[in-house]
């Protein structure tokens, strides 16, 4: 056998390659079974990045479905509540160019809002309770409803079904507790440090 292979180098090479491929195939096959990851980890990561308002403005019924859609190749700029920050984060994760927010799905709002029920006007129809994806509205049939402000994500979904239009989206009040320092203005390259920095065409009077 050995002699035979020595005399037929082509067959020897073929045999070696076949043997190697079998070995590696076995190893890979074992690894595929043993270290199998359940679910799509990229969907989890995307879901982590999305704001979890479950508002459906992306046209998917919740954040996770949108994460799944992104994983399947949908555009990443459909999330107005997350805004550009979320788009950037997703772009980073997927290593793609960050597009700007698709205005078709809504505008990014500067202030966070929270639903507020004018309780005098509430008729207790429970429609908003059914609409709330967060279970953040408390109440019962023919009883006044109220919003648990801490759980409200400001998704707007309760406003539409209200038959008496008694739900307002109020901006979240910011106080001392969530005050933070502002970022200093970015360093400008052509700043005037010495006289020669001045641009003659910009401030000709000074020159």
């Amino acid at each position: 056998m050995y002699e035979y292979l020595l005399t037929h180098p082509f067959l020897a090479a073929l045999a070696a390659l076949v043997a190697l491929s079998l070995v590696f195939g076995a190893v890979l096959g074992y690894a595929a079974v043993q270290f199998k990851v359940e679910g799509d980890p990229i969907v989890d990561q995307l879901d982590e990045l999305l704001p979890q308002t479950q508002c459906g403005q992306c046209s998917y019924p919740g954040c996770r479905p949108y994460a799944e859609a992104i994983a399947n190749g949908d555009a990443i700029n459909k999330c107005p509540p997350g805004g550009q920050a979320t788009i950037n984060a997703i772009a980073d994760l997927l290593d793609v160019e960050a597009p700007t927010l698709d205005e078709e799905h809504g505008e990014e709002s500067e202030v966070k809002t929270v639903a507020y029920i004018r309780e005098d006007e509430c008729i207790g129809c429970t429609k908003c309770i059914q609409a709330c994806p967060m279970d953040a509205i408390l109440g019962a049939a023919k009883q006044m409803h109220t919003v648990i402000a801490d759980e409200c994500t400001g998704c707007d979904l309760c406003v539409e079904p209200c038959p008496v239009d008694c739900i307002d989206m109020l901006p979240v009040e910011s106080g001392l507790s969530d005050w933070k320092w502002n970022k200093p203005p970015a360093v400008v390259e052509n700043i005037q440090i010495i006289a020669t920095d001045k641009h003659p065409d910009k401030d000709g009077a000074a020159a």
Partner: protein
């Protein structure tokens, strides 16, 4: 000499401490208005305990601590609460927050303070409570509630207490002057704190070596105690908590940890004095030493100032020249913050008010690009990489910042100080830290939202699944029922198979059992009904007597109704007894097993059981017997009803018809089972009806063995006989002008039609049958020959005829016949109903029910026919 460690980095800015030390500690006049922010400390804001308009004394608590990490607020002089409202706070944000505003009355009266000479003998908790109630917070700058800091967790024994007299920031000399003027109080306060912490092994007062007078004073006061007074080289920021610990002990507080994690507690010297005063004299924190300094002021010194004093008042007392001032800073030049307004008050943490001129503290030159010189990294006391953090902060790469341990940055400003490009590095870090904190909060919220959303989805899915499961179960049940029905129908082609019978009997038993109520119960129920009806009637009558006009008529109608009902109920009650006894008689005859002779239901069950155990032909015989019995009874009743011309005639008639039908079926079955067997033994009943049945049965048996033609002929003959009889009866009735004429006429008509039918049939079989000729004779005879009109007999005859006819018919024909008869009856009933309506008959309801019932029956019969 105690060993001193050194800290990495650090800077040596110009100290500028001498300006404020030229004058002794001063005091200023009371302002007209004092402002007490509810949040002067770290933790939850205090809760006001005074109302607008209340007069308060100096030292009186005006807001109490809310929650564990919180501190109360006290009035610093006497006066009236003029407002509890939002005022601008001494805070870098320049935001407003809730404040209690007090208009001072100038009397400066104080509440009585509870002094305590021997405070060290008090137990720990009492002392800590006293400190807490006095509103003592850290006087160094952060304002952490002291009581909380003095209550370390049980698993963290404290071995070192450090008193911070470092005061490393330029310009500030408040602690210096305190140490110079009140070294004894500092020592007493230190001893108090040591006592509260369980007398740690080591108690150190750390003072920078640029305060020789303070060092001397404190060392002097500390003689004879176990308190070490340690001086060390001046370097900014040695006064930082973690830095001072490192300098004095060589230990580093772990990243993200607290000094108590390594057994160390650090307090400001000012805090020690305040705690001592609170315990010894019961004096709450209502004043503090503040350095008022800057070249925009005529007088620069340290003052003992009441908390709540507006800063503009302090500045006015020190000859503040607004023109000269570049800006107003609270705190030192390194870590302080600029004020936008000067109407904010002095609070517990205000250690310095700095009013520098433009020359003294020029505005920072514009920032330039980072040249990566690395000086910031050398200056950082926390051994961080400020330059890297700057890049990441500028690019908002927060995860990278996290990796650079930005949270360990103490924001001392050393890096900004050394930066040759004048980049405001600390501002970047502060902004980034704020954003990261916000992001963490948002993340937590979004995680919670996700959980809530997922939970909701799950809940909805579960509810849906349950619904679906129920729906499927129902569907399956319906399918099964349908299958069973179909199977039954298939089996039901054979007229009443044995299995079916058993089933029916079982069902009957079950329903009988379900209905089971003892006669006593039934009787009592009826009696109750009678009583209630009587009561109602009485009440109505009473009301009737009182009522007038329309109302009276209505009530009268109601009374009539009630009377009727009462009568009905009474009748029922009266009828109640005899019915069961009759049944019992039967039951005892056939089912000796029946235990309770008074219980019709039990009897029924016994009968049913007996039936089940019998052989088919025996069963049939028994069946026929029982049916005969019932028929006899029914006929009796019918006769009575007709005699009384009761409204129930119709219903009874139906009952009789049905019974007969049943008998015929049963007999037919029996005949099929045993064609040669003799007819069922004749029961011994005496009445004519029974005899008639006997005849009918005999005929049925005979017919079973006859050819169809013979049968028909036989029938026709009998029919002719009956017709004659019926006609005779009718004549008599007419002659007597009896009420039964109608009924008789009807019966006669029916008989005639039946005979016609029979004839037709016969003709179909044998067109030359002789019986076909005598039709006119019969009818004319009927008109001419009146006989004894006995309505009941006629009806019975009719019924029997029907039964016989039915016995010969195929099930389909039977059904058709039934339908025809039902239709006629329905028509009749409708007519009667119309009549009743026209006459406003009181039994209108009964008629209606009758019509409805008949309709229902007709419907059913039609259904069966279509099924067949």
């Amino acid at each position: 000499m105690t060993k001193i460690w050194s800290i990495p980095g650090g800077i040596h800015p110009e100290e500028n401490k001498s300006q404020s030390l030229q004058l002794p500690l001063g005091e200023i006049s009371l302002p007209d208005e004092l402002i007490f922010p509810l949040s002067q400390h770290i933790g939850a804001p205090a809760k006001p305990v005074v109302a607008v308009g209340d007069r308060v004394l100096g030292g009186q608590k005006i807001a109490e601590a809310k929650g564990m990490i919180s501190a109360p607020v006290h009035a610093s002089t006497s006066g009236t609460v003029t407002a509890i409202e939002d005022r601008t706070l001494p805070h870098p944000s320049g935001l407003s927050g809730p404040c209690i505003v007090i208009a001072a009355d100038g009397k400066d009266e104080f509440a009585d303070f509870e002094t305590c000479e021997d405070y060290l003998s008090l137990d720990r908790d009492t002392l800590v409570q006293k400190i807490r109630n006095a509103g003592i917070t850290g006087m160094g700058g952060a304002g952490f509630p002291t009581a909380v800091k003095l209550s370390p967790r049980a698993n963290q024994p404290i071995d070192t207490l450090i008193l911070n007299g470092t005061e490393c920031e330029p310009y500030i000399t408040a602690d210096d002057i305190l140490m110079q003027t009140r070294p004894e109080d500092i020592i007493r306060g230190t001893q108090l704190l040591a006592h509260l912490l369980g007398n740690p092994e080591r108690v150190v007062i750390g003072i920078e070596d640029n305060k020789p007078k303070a060092i001397a004073a404190v060392t002097q006061a500390a003689q004879g105690t176990n308190i070490e007074v340690v001086s060390f080289p001046t370097k900014y920021p040695s006064g930082g908590e973690k830095q001072l610990i490192q300098i004095l002990t060589g230990k580093e507080v772990p990243s993200g940890g607290l000094p108590s994690d390594i057994g160390i507690v650090l307090q400001n010297v000012g805090t020690a004095v305040a705690a001592y005063e609170a315990v010894r004299f019961g004096k709450p924190l209502i004043e503090r030493i503040t350095t008022v300094v800057g070249q925009a002021l005529e007088t620069q010194r340290n003052i003992l100032v009441r908390l709540g004093t507006p800063i503009h008042h302090v500045l006015a007392e020190h000859g503040f020249v607004e023109k000269k001032a570049m800006r107003l800073i609270v705190g030192g030049p390194m870590m302080g913050y600029a004020l936008e307004q000067d109407d904010v008050p002095v609070v517990k943490t205000t250690n310095c008010i700095l009013a520098p001129t433009k020359k003294e503290l020029p505005p920072p030159p514009p920032a330039q690009a980072c040249i990566r010189c690395g000086m910031c990294a050398e200056a950082c006391p926390a051994s961080l990489l400020p330059q890297q953090m700057y890049w990441y902060a500028a690019a908002e790469e927060y995860d990278r910042l996290e990796a650079q341990n930005i949270k360990d940055c103490i924001e001392c400003g050393a890096c900004s100080f050394v930066c040759p490009s004048n980049i405001p590095l600390v501002q970047y870090y502060r902004a980034a830290k704020g954003t990261m904190r916000q992001m963490a909060i948002d993340k937590e919220k979004s995680d919670r939202s996700r959980k809530r959303f997922e939970f909701r989805q799950e809940r909805i899915a579960k509810a849906e699944a349950e619904k679906e499961a129920k729906r499927l179960a129902r569907k399956k049940a319906a399918e099964l029922a349908k299958q069973k029905q179909e199977a039954e129908k298939a089996a039901g082609v054979k007229p009443a198979s044995h299995a079916d019978k058993v089933d029916i009997v079982a069902t009957a038993m079950a329903s009988a059992k379900a209905k089971q109520a003892t006669p006593e119960e039934q009787k009592s129920k009826l009696q109750r009904a009678v009583t209630s009806a009587e009561g109602r009637l009485e009440k109505l009558q009473q009301r009737h007597a009182e009522a007038e006009g329309d109302m009276k008529d209505r009530l009268a109608a109601q009374i009539k109704q009630a009377e009727l009902k009462l009568q009905e109920t009474q009748n029922k009650l009266a009828d109640f007894k005899p019915v069961p006894t009759e049944i019992v008689a039967e039951a005892t005859d056939r089912a000796p097993a029946a235990t309770d002779p008074n219980d019709p239901v039990a009897a029924a069950i016994a009968r049913a059981q007996a039936k089940m155990t019998m052989a088919p032909d025996e069963k049939l015989k028994a069946n026929i017997e029982s049916l005969n019995g019932r028929l006899a009874k029914a006929e009796e009743k019918l006769a009575t009803a007709q005699a009384e011309n009761s409204d129930k005639v119709e219903a009874l008639q139906t009952g009789v018809d049905k019974l007969k039908e049943k008998i015929a079926t049963a007999e037919k079955e029996l005949a099929e089972l045993a064609p040669s067997a003799p007819a069922a033994p004749a029961p011994e009943e005496q009445d004519a009806a029974a005899a008639a049945i006997e005849r009918a049965k005999a005929k049925a048996a005979q017919q079973a063995s006859m050819s169809p033609e013979d049968k028909l002929r036989d029938q026709l003959n009998s029919m002719a006989g009956r017709l004659e009889k019926a006609q005779a009866k009718l004549e008599k009735a007419k002659a007597d002008n009896a009420d039964t004429v109608d009924a008789l006429q009807l019966g006669l008509d029916k008989m005639l039609s039946k005979r016609d039918k029979l004839r037709d049939e016969l003709r179909a079989i044998n067109p030359k049958a002789p019986e076909l000729d005598d039709q006119p004779t019969a009818s004319s005879k009927a008109e001419e020959t009146p006989e004894q009109p006995d309505a009941a007999t006629a009806a019975i005859e009719k019924a029997k005829a029907k039964a016989e006819a039915l016995a010969n018919m195929s099930p389909e024909d039977k059904l058709r016949d039934q339908i025809a008869s039902l239709e006629t009856r329905l028509e009749k009933a409708r007519q009667r109903l119309a009549k009743a309506e026209a006459e406003d008959d009181p039994n209108l309801d009964a008629f209606k029910t009758g019509v409805e019932k008949t309709e229902a029956k007709l419907e059913q019969a039609k259904q069966e026919l279509s099924n067949a």
